[in-house]
């Protein structure tokens, strides 16, 4: 049922060229080089240290590794991370 539903949503967003992150409730991860990462549509922070950041989302946990990482802002819909980013993993 859920699969069917998301399939329809996907097709609609594809047909109407609507942003999929909104229709399908997916996180949107934007990287600027290796110095900044913006994660919108997240579901909370699981872990934060200067080396590791784990963020919960609808597709699982997004794990960002690096060094000297700093949270520039935290809002209920967006997280901006600054620092030296080395790895982005999605653990579902």
């Amino acid at each position: 049922m859920d699969d069917k539903m998301s399939n329809i949503k996907y097709n609609i967003s594809e047909a109407l060229e609507l942003p999929k992150d909104l229709i399908l409730d997916l996180p949107k991860i934007v990287m600027i080089g290796n110095i900044q990462i913006n994660i919108s549509n997240h579901k909370g922070i699981v872990e934060y240290t200067q080396e590791v950041l784990r963020v919960n989302s609808s597709i699982g946990i997004i794990k960002i590794s690096g060094s000297d990482m700093e949270l520039k802002t935290i809002l209920s819909e967006e997280i901006i991370v600054k620092g030296n980013i080395e790895k982005v993993e999605i653990i579902s």
């Binding site: 934060y48 200067q50 700093e70 935290i74 809002l75």
Partner: protein
């Protein structure tokens, strides 16, 4: 990004340190409660440093209770705290207010009175008459009635045809225009004489009123009565006083003498040049002196060396002072040329003295050569009205 920083500075924010074990939960709760946190840094495993607005800081207290961590305030930043700090330093604020009051007060005074356009009436005199009305340096400009000043000056001095008073900043500018006063006219009913204003030989007397007392060929001196306003009857002793009127044309002469030496010493450049350089920055100059000028007599010429071939006025200039040696040299002039130029000069001088309506009768030019000089005498005879009305005494 800069605007956000400025906005945060204006609203004020605090840097806090949160200590606890479940710091991620703290962050998530803050985010879901719409508390804006920024520049979050994990200092230690149990320590988090971040910035939060003043309002956010108050709202954080609830979350802190829920999560069970400790919050420490590190630093207060921004304008609200700065103002609060100022409020503690009362004397500073007091001085600030006094400063503004002083500036405002001093700039509302008249510090300078300038008077433009007066020629025959001295500035001092106008200032003194203004002072009588309590208009002087140091008065408050808002109490000044410029219309009144204009009116007063116009009333007090007949010679002013126009006055304007204007306050510009702390300066009171009074502009006046003087009129050319006509000579004192004698009323047509007042008895008067006509007297000579200069020496001359009478050519023609037309007495329209009164009695002519001089005739053609008479030599009159300055101040002599020409047409009298006192008419006496031959048969009675009664004297009548009338307003004498008429024209008295007389031959008058104007003389001017010009001297010009034939031999003249003029200074000639010898070709010897001594140079000095000067570096000029703004108004200050720095001269590079290389000994004294070795000439007794010289002319100075200043020439600018352009650093770059640009058409702009740079504040840095290099000036070259050139001192050119001069040597006196005796030059013998042409006598005929001197005569001509003397003649011209003399006529020009006489023309300045001649009244506009005078008619030239004759001109006599004589040249003498004496003591190595050409002396030119020019005598011009003219016909002019020499009469002037004067009250009977």
């Amino acid at each position: 990004m800069g605007t956000i920083k400025a906005w945060n500075f204006l609203r004020g924010y605090v840097i806090i340190r949160v200590e606890g074990l479940t710091l991620e939960r703290f962050l998530n709760l803050a985010a879901s409660n719409n508390i804006y946190l920024w520049d979050i840094n994990r200092v230690d495993y149990t320590l988090l440093e971040m910035k939060v607005t003043i309002r956010g800081f108050r709202e954080l207290k609830e979350i802190v209770k829920k999560v069970g961590c400790r919050v420490e305030l590190v630093e207060k930043k921004g304008l609200p705290f700065f103002i609060y700090g100022l409020r503690q330093r009362k004397m500073l604020g007091f001085g600030f207010i006094i400063f503004f009051i002083l500036v405002f007060y001093l700039s509302s005074l008249i510090w300078h009175i300038e008077i433009i356009g007066n020629e025959s009436v001295s500035t001092q005199e106008i200032l003194e008459s203004l002072e009588k009305e309590n208009i002087k340096k140091g008065i408050i400009k808002y109490r000044l009635d410029t219309d009144y000043i204009e009116y007063k000056l116009l009333m007090e001095y007949d010679i002013f045809s126009y006055t304007s008073a204007e306050v510009q900043g702390t300066k009171l500018t009074i502009e006046v225009k003087e009129r050319d006063l006509p000579p004192d006219l004698i009323d047509e009913d007042t008895p008067c004489n006509i007297v000579a204003i200069k020496k001359g030989i009478i050519e023609k007397v037309i007495a329209r009123n009164g009695k002519a007392v001089v005739k053609k060929g008479d030599v009159v001196e300055k101040g002599q009565t020409l047409i009298t306003g006192i008419i006496s009857d031959e048969y009675s002793d009664i004297q009548m006083y009338v307003h004498a009127e008429g024209e008295v044309l007389a031959k008058t002469s104007y003389f001017y003498q010009v001297e010009e030496p034939i031999e003249k010493t003029i200074k000639v450049e010898t070709g010897e040049v001594f140079e000095r350089r000067e570096l000029k920055v703004g108004d200050r100059g720095l001269q590079f002196i290389r000994g004294d000028i070795p000439f007794d007599d010289y002319v100075e010429e200043v020439r600018e060396v352009r650093l770059f071939n640009l058409d702009i006025d740079l504040p840095i200039k290099i000036l070259v002072h050139e001192y050119k040696e001069l040597e006196p040299k005796i030059v013998k002039q042409n006598v005929e040329l001197i005569k001509d130029s003397n003649h011209m000069k003399a006529v020009e001088e006489i023309n300045k003295q001649l009244p506009a309506e005078a008619k030239i009768i004759s001109k006599d030019v004589k040249h003498y050569v004496r003591d190595n000089k050409v002396i030119t005498h020019v005598l011009i005879e003219v016909l002019e009205d020499i009469g002037e009305k004067r009250l009977l005494n």
